[in-house]
């Protein structure tokens, strides 16, 4: 074999490994390393997810019977508020961008770190402070407004509304700082040769997400401040008692919270673009369509908030316009699904854990997307609005989409993050259990909704009991599957085989970096190629990983003959 097969960073000295290069609590607490911050975020958001997931199981257990089992009406309301608020603000919004994004964005750019490492650490601590504040407030006295804080209920109810909204305010800044950091990083730190259209699609998705985070989150800040002011000072904006209008609150709230839905799902879509291509060993189909559709979703996402208010008594013309805009955002999502599907065509599909999660995403997200058609259409939305149909719809998108995508991403980049391979068989089993449990939980809820079961009900009429019981059984299966997935990952830390540099045969830059990466990421600036060009990669049994065999000839056969003549900012 020629010397070219041995990559200079294939073997990382233990002292350079970002996990072990410095030790002690302070080396983590004060780190500026994007990878360590990413891992701390990962632990943080997964803890939040675990807590909110247990709350979900408590709710599902209570719903086994139409009458009270162990939660009073008030307790039920507090638990569903906690479940929703923790899932949205502490888990799903920061999940992919803050945890995986922090780890991956600089490495995918061949950079040492994000543009503003201190701001990055600050963002993590804001998340932590916001989380502690938010949780203490909610647990201390029992917030019962739902995560949406609708006025005038939120301005009149007992409970820590002001403290909780301040927590949301702090968390908002964390989100804004992360978005700002990524925008600057992606704009200014792309290596020579990486034009916009040679960027991995995960970075396109992260960029689109960051735009929303920076532009929409301030509106959430304004909204919660106005809400606190209404509650404390009675300024008369949301509460009709002081000549305010509750529908105004909904406009403010959803102006942020609908784009926030795309903060949640776009990064998941970015992950799937990477996963489908790498594990099909096939260049992504329609790169530009996927890239543009991320931006299109981010922009259209700002214009559709009114579909949360179809029954709130908006003017008819407004309602019709919002319906039209809502459908416009469905097209870019459909394009992505078709592109992911076509990516497998003539590829070499490896049915490993990661690919199974990606395929599960495709299946579940398709259901989530298609069921949006009923809710976007004004006449069918009328009976379905605020029922379990909506609950099922957004769980298919948020859990079936984002969470399953996030899990796929964790499994995909786990060897890179930890340097350990996980057990494939148990990984696949976890995916199968999650898939079955998820569908059993949420498919019956569509039917509950179309039969008229309203959401946020602690009690219900007995006709709905069987479907509720199916759903509850599914929820426990889902919870068990997630527990298995956690076990697989934790097991790998202690018993896992050492991961090679490139276990899956990825062509993006993070796979040219050691596993786990050294704290400086790359000793030499990595060679930038097409992100989905796998032509030079060969599997090597000795390393259980992929390497470029003939990099020189590969370079010549690359489609872009003269990348250097193009400016980096295409």
């Amino acid at each position: 074999m020629s010397a070219a097969v041995t990559h200079p960073t294939a073997m990382t000295p233990e002292s350079d490994n970002f996990l072990t290069n410095s030790r002690g609590f302070l080396s983590w607490a004060l780190t500026l390393d994007h990878k360590r911050i990413g891992l701390m975020y990962l632990v943080g958001v997964l803890s939040a997810f675990g807590l909110a997931g247990i709350l979900a199981l408590i709710l599902r257990a209570e719903l086994m019977t139409p009458t009270q089992m162990f939660l009073s009406n008030q307790q039920y309301n507090q638990v569903f508020t906690l479940h929703g608020a923790i899932m949205v603000f502490l888990f799903i919004i920061p999940s992919v961008p803050a945890a995986l994004g922090n780890f991956l964005v600089p490495i995918m750019l061949g950079a040492k770190d994000v543009a503003f490492p201190r701001l990055n650490l600050c963002s993590f601590y804001l998340w932590l402070v916001g989380a502690v504040f938010f949780l203490t407030a909610m647990l201390a006295t029992g917030l019962d407004t739902g995560w949406t804080f609708y006025a005038p209920y939120s301005t009149t109810t007992q409970g820590p509304v002001v403290a909780a909204t301040l927590g949301v305010f702090i968390l908002g800044f964390s989100s804004i700082f992360t978005g700002l950091n990524f925008i600057v990083t992606i704009n200014t730190m792309r290596p020579p040769g990486m034009t916009w259209f040679k960027m991995p699609l995960f970075l396109w998705a992260t960029y689109a997400t960051s735009i929303i985070q920076v532009l929409a989150t301030p509106v959430l800040g304004i909204t919660v401040l106005l809400l606190a002011a209404e509650r404390v000072l009675h300024i008369g904006i949301f509460d009709p008692q002081y000549n305010g209008d509750p529908v105004t609150y909904q406009h403010f709230f959803w102006f942020y919270s609908h784009p926030a839905v795309y903060i949640m799902i776009l990064p998941g879509m970015g992950i799937i673009s990477e996963l489908m291509s790498v594990h099909s060993h096939k260049s992504i189909f329609g790169y530009r369509f996927i890239a543009y559709s991320s931006i299109a979703i981010a922009l259209f996402g700002f214009l559709v908030w009114g579909h949360h208010m179809f029954t709130a008594g908006m003017a008819n013309v407004t309602t019709i316009i919002f319906s039209a805009l809502t459908f416009s955002v469905s097209i870019p999502s459909a394009i992505k699904v078709f592109n992911w599907l076509a990516t497998m065509y003539q590829g070499t599909v490896k049915l490993n854990t990661v690919m199974l999660y990606a395929l599960a995403f495709l299946f579940l997200f398709t259901i989530g997307g298609l069921t949006g058609l009923w809710l976007g259409a004004l006449s069918t939305d009328r009976p379905l609005h605020d029922t379990y149909f909506v609950v099922a719809h957004f769980h298919y998108v948020m859990v079936g989409g984002t969470l399953v995508g996030f899990l796929g991403g964790i499994f995909h980049w786990w060897p890179k993050m930890t340097g350990r391979m996980f057990n494939e068989l148990w990984g696949k089993i976890s995916c199968a259990i999650v898939f079955v449990g998820f569908n059993l939980t949420f498919l019956p809820q569509f039917i509950l909704g179309s039969r008229g079961m309203p959401r946020r009900y602690a009690r219900y009429v007995p006709e709905f009991q069987e479907l509720h019981q199916l759903s509850s059984i599914g929820a426990f299966i889902l919870g068990f599957g997630l527990f298995v997935a956690l076990g697989v990952l934790l097991h790998s830390l202690f018993r896992g085989r050492r991961a090679p540099m490139n276990p899956w045969g990825g062509a993006t830059l993070e796979w040219q970096c050691a596993s786990p990466p050294p704290y400086y990421n790359f000793k030499h600036p990595p060679r930038v190629n097409e992100p989905y060009d796998y032509t030079g990669l060969r599997y090597r049994d000795a390393e259980h990983g992929w390497e470029y065999v003939h990099p020189e000839s590969d370079k010549v056969s690359a489609p872009e003959a003269t990348p250097e003549t193009k400016p980096a900012s295409n």
Partner: protein, 395 residues
Amino acid sequence: MMTMFRNSMDALLADQNATFFFPPRASTFAEETDVFFMYIFWISAFFFVLIVAGMIYFVVKFRERPGYQGDSRPLHNNALEITWTVIPTLIVIWIFARGVYGFIDMETPPADTIDINVTARKWDWSFQYPNGAIADTLHVPINQNIRLLMRSEDVIHAFYVPAFRAKKDVVPGRVTALWFRPILEGEYDLFCAEYCGDQHSEMIKRRGVVVHDQAGYEAWLAEAAKPPEHPVAHGYWLFSRLGCKSCHSLEPGKKIVGPSLAGTFGQTLRTADGQSVVFDENYVRESILEPQKKAREGFQNASQMPSFQGKLNNQELDAITAFLKALTENPALGDAVKDGDFSVDEQKALGYYTESEQESGGEPAGEDAAAAAQSPDPGRPAGEGVGTTQAESDS
């Protein structure tokens, strides 16, 4: 699990008007939304099967296996990409348009509606009918256009009758309107669909919506508008019906807008201009007919209260006086009226029981007592009780 599913199927088929997806079709909207629902269902099913079948086919055909060599080079096909952009676009334009068509029907009430005023509050509904009858259940005649004019007294609620496929938020500070045309006689559930606090799920009115034939509706309406005969019961009936209770609490010291009326009768009060006045028969009469004349201290804003001059006759004024007097004599009456749970003492105060009947074996007798026995919920005016009884005995 399958048994459970089959049981739920059986439960469904038991009601011949309900289908796998839908509750009974009891209004004209149901036809349109259900048919449209199924169109979208089949469109979605087509694309879903296409995507999943494609996925399975590709996974099987292009799976990694010995002797198979895939091609990793990029593919591009503009025609294909334009096709799968344009076709879904055309389909969603059609879905949008058909949705708007149904929506415009839902938002355009015909000219000849029966208007019913709806008040939502934590955690109850109140319906006021064209003849003045007030009830906590909704009664409508079949094949007539009904329009609900809805207000909330506190937070946002949403009126939702799945069988009518009708839903609208009830937003405080404004009136929202909802119309529908019932086409199937029966009793249907009414839900609150917007989270409104502690007892949100207690705002289920089980079979609280009754679609009558025309004669049945008129009979119910006439009965519901008929006042109870005993003066105290009549007084409370008027007190609820005239909207008094939305401003005057019956709990001691609780100020809503006007003063609480609990325990006030017979007391000497101070007026806003510093005089003292006895809360007696004359003061009650005067305050109802000319509310601004002797406004109480701390309630100078009595201009909010409308005058009832010419709206109430002497008998009705006497009934309200009798009710307020009974409220002072028996303070528990205020609580009883609020929670709807009457003890024998409270029923006595309201006139449902009399001493002689108690002595003659406790069996209720006489007209009022008969009404009380018939009504499962004496907290409601007797007229309403008849309707509720009917609804429950039918179920």
